[in-house]
Amino acid sequence: SAVISQKPSRDICQRGTSLTIQCQVDSQVTMMFWYRQQPGQSLTLIATANQGSEATYESGFVIDKFPISRPNLTFSTLTVSNMSPEDSSIYLCSVGDSATNEKLFFGSGTQLSVL
């Protein structure tokens, strides 16, 4: 298993500002995944972050809005840029199981409210 520390756990931000979410894993992992969960909805994959390369974004998500850093094998950040109320969501980082690379482990999430 992997232990994932994600912070902040919640934040209230003003429209037009940016927030950077940090994700720290207790072991080295190849891929880290960033998800968004809008209120009352399911999880949607934003992007996959590989160490040493550009993140791969899913349809509907762009780097200018959600820049991602992956400086090493245990850490990643997701920035939500130029926020609007529509960005109010839970943001979750996750990593694959190192043994089988099938199931995912999740951080506790960042609950973001944009006013």
Partner: protein
Amino acid sequence: SQQGEEDPQALSIQEGENATMNCSYKTSINNLQWYRQNSGRGLVHLILIRSNEREKHSGRLRVTLDTSKKSSSLLITASRAADTASYFCATPLTSMYSGGGADGLTFGKGTHLIIQP
């Protein structure tokens, strides 16, 4: 787009009863997984069933998979108040990346389960 669709969207039962949730998916898969989410926080992996398996048990959990119908069910027996949570099925995004494995998962819409004491 969402791969899995759970039903019901919400389920409320009495403590001690069994809870059954269903999931349907659209494309071929090599495994299907179920996750639990408490109070909008991080998800916890519950169980994984492979495409060549029809049924799997883990404690009070029983999962079935019918690949011909592209559907799965999660049964929680003898429910407890602590089982109150949202439950999601998930399938691998293997169509997006080569090599299979945890190249991300796509999640269904979830079933919100409430266990009444």
